[in-house]
């Protein structure tokens, strides 16, 4: 049976985004036999997502940043594949990672879409996990209405389809990522009614030193300023969406000014009507469950995200496991590529990064730290929630139920909350509500380690993607033969 096919490699790379492409290329060019597993149907990840190459064979990179870098990595990726050094398995999700006694990694696979799968299991001596991240979400009244999307989801829609998911948009949350999303919408012909940034841009003032270390980001900012001026996009700072309104889908939003803690300033509320798509993004959540399942050490990053700890070769504390990109701390594509190149090289030969590369990574890390501090999740974000506000979209658990479980039943961490309320037990397994549930569960707990412990316990999910019982029953549990 084809699902029992056994594949063995020197290096397995999970993810074909900026970090994964770079890692795969670096390893293959050093003579390692590499396999790349990716949920997408073509390389690029979310950052370089583009229309299907079966329809648009030569994408022009419009609306993309670093497209030249992509083309370079892609050419080297394709070359390695044609030399037989790199095996690319698209439309493939890793649902479990294990480490065998011999020190080899075992990856259990499931198709991302459909039922066809080239291999059910892949084994590799070294593993580079470059699983990226997704928009971090916070619940608020009306966020479950159709028409409400992740900010990155809107961007992915435009990049992948060449069309818009609506007509009139509001983009809200925090962080520089809201800017390219709004710019992409406007350039695709949509109306951006407002961009609501909860932070004050004055937050950047203490960090100008870190910002000047990465001048490319300032240029990118200037580019967006131009697009905003051309399309008359209103960029409102210290402003949040307090509620999305609509019967069966979003049709308007309420916005308000907030103070430095994120509390709504009375009398500043405004209704924006005729809005059919609302995009939210509060930074990103790195997707670290595969690394956590293998025992990777974690820490809380400057943005409050749980991320994995790596050394200067991108090596985790787990022998043979390397990590690159957002999983080591959200820092953008340039940093992800640099880390991927280091991780791929280290996985293949154990080599150290050059001093120049190490400095580049340091500069970008510093910039990311400044960005996270300038665009925090507002402290009082949960003031907007009513008892009825859904917190967990999959299992339809309300804020009232979560607060009751915390205050009356003692569910003071996300894992206990999960058992008591079913938050995070549905299809997405807490990817969407995990951060918010953890904040709400640990609220009032002054122990500095409580948030990390809560997030870390929640991130421990040995089964990382939904799969059928049939796939489990077909599992090949035979000992691998040496090859």
């Amino acid at each position: 049976m084809s699902t029992q096919t056994e594949f063995s490699f020197d290096v397995a790379v999970i993810g074909a985004g900026p970090a994964g492409l770079a890692a795969a290329v670096a390893a293959a060019e050093r003579g390692a036999k590499v396999v790349v597993l990716d949920a997408g149907t073509q390389p690029g990840g979310q950052f370089w997502r583009h229309r299907p190459e079966s329809v648009i064979p030569e994408p022009d990179g419009h609306g993309h940043h670093g497209w030249k870098t992509y083309l370079d990595l892609r050419a080297r990726f394709d070359a390695a594949a044609s030399r037989g050094m790199l095996r690319y398995l698209p439309n493939t999700q890793v649902w479990m990672t294990e480490c065998e006694d011999a020190g080899r990694f075992v990856l259990r696979l499931t198709p991302a879409t459909g039922t066809a799968l080239e291999a059910a299991t892949v084994r590799a001596t070294k593993l580079v996990s470059c699983t990226g991240g997704y928009d971090r979400q916070l619940p608020l009244p009306g966020w479950e209405l159709p028409g409400v999307m992740a900010a990155g989801g809107i961007q992915a829609f435009i990049k992948a389809n060449g069309t818009l998911p609506g007509r009139r948009f509001v983009v809200a949350g925090t962080g520089p990522f809201l800017l390219p999303v709004a710019a992409n919408i406007a350039e695709a012909g949509g109306k951006v009614v407002a961009v609501c940034e909860s932070a004050s841009l004055a937050n950047w003032l203490p960090h100008l030193g870190a910002a000047s270390g990465v001048p490319g980001k300032a240029l990118e900012g200037a580019e967006y300023a131009g697009v905003f001026a051309k399309h008359r996009i209103r960029y409102r700072t210290r402003t949040v969406v307090t509620e999305v309104l609509g019967e069966t889908s979003a049709n308007s939003v309420r916005i308000a000014k907030v103070d430095a803690d994120g509390a709504v300033i009375a009398g500043t509320e405004q209704l924006l009507e005729d809005v059919d798509v609302v995009g939210f993004g509060w930074g990103f959540t790195p997707q670290i469950e595969l690394a956590v399942a293998l025992g990777a050490e974690t820490r809380i990053d400057a943005d409050g995200s749980l991320v994995c700890v790596v050394d200067d070769r991108q090596a985790s504390n787990v022998p043979g496991l390397y990590l690159a990109g957002e999983v080591t701390g959200v820092g953008g594509a340039v940093l992800a590529v640099a880390e991927g190149l280091v991780a791929g090289a280290a996985a293949a030969t154990g080599e150290q990064p050059t001093a120049g590369t190490a400095r580049q990574i340091q500069r970008h890390r510093k910039f990311a730290g400044a960005m996270h501090q300038a665009h925090p999740v507002p402290e009082k974000w949960d003031d907007l929630l009513t008892d009825d506000t859904l917190v967990c979209r999959c299992e339809e658990v309300s804020h009232g139920e979560v607060v009751h479980a915390r205050d009356a039943l003692g569910a003071t961490d996300a894992r206990t909350m999960k058992s008591f309320t079913r938050t995070g037990m549905g299809w997405c397994q807490g990817k969407v509500c995990g951060f918010a549930v953890s904040c709400l569960s640990t609220k009032g707990n002054d122990d500095a380690g409580a948030e990390q412990a809560s997030l870390a316990a929640f991130a421990k999910r040995p089964v990382a993607a939904p799969l059928t019982l049939g796939e489990i029953s077909a599992l090949d549990s035979r000992q691998p033969q040496d090859s």
Binding site: P52, S54, P146, A156, C428
Partner: protein, 88 residues
């Protein structure tokens, strides 16, 4: 530069429609003004695209008889049969 997109025909709840090749199932539905194609198990609330990149599973739909496919991830193909909780 950009070429005229190939056209495909897909079936949405037994209604045939024409769409551009290379779009996701989610995009084809949104192009028809359909924003929701699933209702939730407990409260029967409408759901469609949310995360847009395969993380949230809000956009699940039945494609060619196979349930629980993510509409944001599946590329629409000619003669594809798409069934969900929506009026085509």
């Amino acid at each position: 530069m950009s070429t005229t997109p190939q056209r495909i025909t897909v079936t949405l709840n037994a209604t045939e429609i024409r769409a551009d090749a290379g779009q996701s199932v989610g995009a084809v539905l949104m192009g028809q003004g359909i924003k929701a194609w699933r209702t939730t198990r407990n409260e029967g609330k409408p759901r469609g695209l949310f995360c847009g990149i395969g993380a949230c599973y809000d956009c699940l739909i039945t494609i060619d008889g196979q349930p629980n496919q993510r509409a944001c991830m599946v590329e629409a193909r000619d003669s594809m049969n798409i069934e969900g909780d929506f009026d085509a």
